[in-house]
Symmetry: C2
Subunit: 338 residues, 2 copies
């Protein structure tokens, strides 16, 4: 690979070492290098918005997973949106807006085939990283293809004010379900009920979750969409119905653990209720993204779905901004504006 | 309900109080009463063989489950086989052999509709409590309907020398799978490989389970049929393949717990592998028992399936004999001969 120089300076965060527990600024190296000019089949993209996701914490760990860990010294992986500034790939021209795994950097040079062109006229750019991007596809396929909710059933979702959870609850409402969300703090709880139309909210930080689940889910839980793991997963398992479906989408309460993950002690509720617990990874539905995006765009346009972004300015804030996901500080889809 | 007297004396074990931890003899009251004569629609059955199952431990506990707990003072629930001695029900005559929830007693008087007549000429009577009874149906539907093994896949089963496990492994072999069983002790391990045709056995009492799973399942685990829970469930989760299916049939390692159940710490393997963990209760397949029994009888007749019963003589030994299930002493389907 040649390393031609260009006029573009690329500000990047590279993984310095694998974090133990919460991520700290020292786990990354910040560097400014000349951006690499594109070779045949490649494009150079000026990155504008970077998606910050809980899954990023997992990518920093060594070990077998659904995707290769980020290597030490590599630019930190992240989904992002940007504008093409130089192209040596057919079908891509300067000015095109693309999404892809552009990384935590200001300029990305990568194979055009790993990017997707989006129609930036359709919606504000950050939406392509939230309702119309990975969180949207995760909510859509995780709930509908794995959770399989039926009208009248009770759907519970955790991290309900988060990027995925807020969409899961709204889609479940559109599908005619009774929807209860768990979120941390009164503001988030008010938001999911008053603005997003959830039937009820449980503030897991200040309310007794088992008792509130009994109150808000008088007919038991048919679908639990789990983003958090830990005690809340156990509390929900204790109240599932016959043939309930538990979608394991994430376990943010466990990602920074330095002790072993807490397994769900109540997993035998699966036996008693002939229920299932199933993991989902959005990439498995790549062939159906068009279907998902179309549905989401339709609901957005019709005002049936709301998307909230928490946009933080400044690439340099990356390590601290990422922490907001794990402390529960962010409110809506967390996005870094470059 | 009248309480007419008959000549028959009924020896019974009644639940005296709910056990804490392992069951002890004091948890039951042994009584001898005159058997109750049948009323209209009922039959009186001389009980011959009583099935002892891990599930019985759960039925002794208070609390919501898939079936009502046995009440204090009630005859202990058990599946059993016996011969009709008196009938006031159409279609049932003295001499008919029936199975049903006859209980841990020598004479049962119950509604004929709760019993099933069996053709005792087809197979030795104990078989109707093993391969042709609940363990057989549990293995057949649990493996095929929930585990959905495909030819060439790797199936792992725990308690593999037990009533259900031994059948699961053999059915998986018939279906063209690579089959590995976990059992306690060299004799059981030899038995499942040499006599039942499993591809490999792991003696969980003396061998390192993770290392032996790696050796015996070089292509990973596609289906894990779990009868035991605890550490073995975690060890298997750590080696599952993409889209693996985990059948939760039981958790005998946890039934006598006085501390909370150990949840599977490795449950996030479900997420990474988009795998599912699903509970099964045999009663859900009642409408398909004929299909299952026919298949099992055919394989038995063809010599493709072996069933081993561990028959203990004497109703009075019940509390001690039941313990064999939890200490791992029994070898094959545990049956009490009245």
């Amino acid at each position: 690979m040649t390393d031609k120089m260009t006029d573009h300076q690329n500000r990047q965060f590279r993984l310095a070492h694998r974090p133990v527990g919460p991520v700290r600024r020292e786990d990354f190296t910040f560097r400014v290098d000349p951006a690499r000019a594109p070779e045949a089949g490649e494009i150079m993209v000026a990155v504008e918005y970077i998606s910050l996701d809980p899954a990023m914490r997992g990518w920093m760990n060594e070990g077998r997973s659904y995707i290769k860990p980020v290597g030490i010294g590599e630019v930190m992986r992240a989904g992002a949106l940007g504008t093409v500034v130089e192209s040596r790939a057919a079908g891509f021209s300067p000015g095109d807006v693309v999404t892809g795994a552009l990384g935590v950097q200001s300029v990305a040079t990568l194979a055009a085939k790993d990017c997707v062109k989006v129609d930036a006229g359709l919606a504000p750019k950050p939406l392509f990283l939230s309702a119309l991007g990975m969180p949207g596809m995760t909510a859509y396929f995780g709930l509908l293809a794995v959770g399989e909710p039926k009208p009248g059933e009770t759907v519970v979702v955790s991290a309900a004010a988060g990027a995925v959870g807020a969409l899961v609850g709204q889609i479940a409402k559109i599908k005619g379900c009774h929807v209860v969300g768990l979120a941390g703090g009164a503001a988030k709880c008010r938001y999911i009920v008053d603005e997003l139309g959830f039937d009820a909210a449980i503030d897991y930080k200040s309310e007794p979750v088992p008792a509130r689940l009994r109150e808000t889910c008088p007919k038991g839980i048919d679908v639990y969409f789990d983003n958090v793991g830990g005690q809340i997963l156990d509390d929900c398992l204790a109240q599932i119905n016959l043939r309930a479906r538990i979608v394991i989408c994430g376990a943010i309460s466990q990602y920074n653990n330095t002790t072993p993950v807490k397994g769900p002690s109540n997993y035998l509720a699966l036996l008693v209720n002939r229920a299932r617990m199933q993991g989902m990874i959005v990439f498995d539905y790549a062939e159906r993204y068009a279907e998902g995006a179309q549905a989401m765009a339709g609901w957005l346009a019709a005002g049936r779905l709301k998307s909230r972004e928490d946009i933080v300015d400044g690439l340099e804030t990356f390590p601290d901004t990422l922490q907001k996901l794990f402390t529960g500080e962010n409110f809506g889809k967390l996005i870094l504006k470059v």
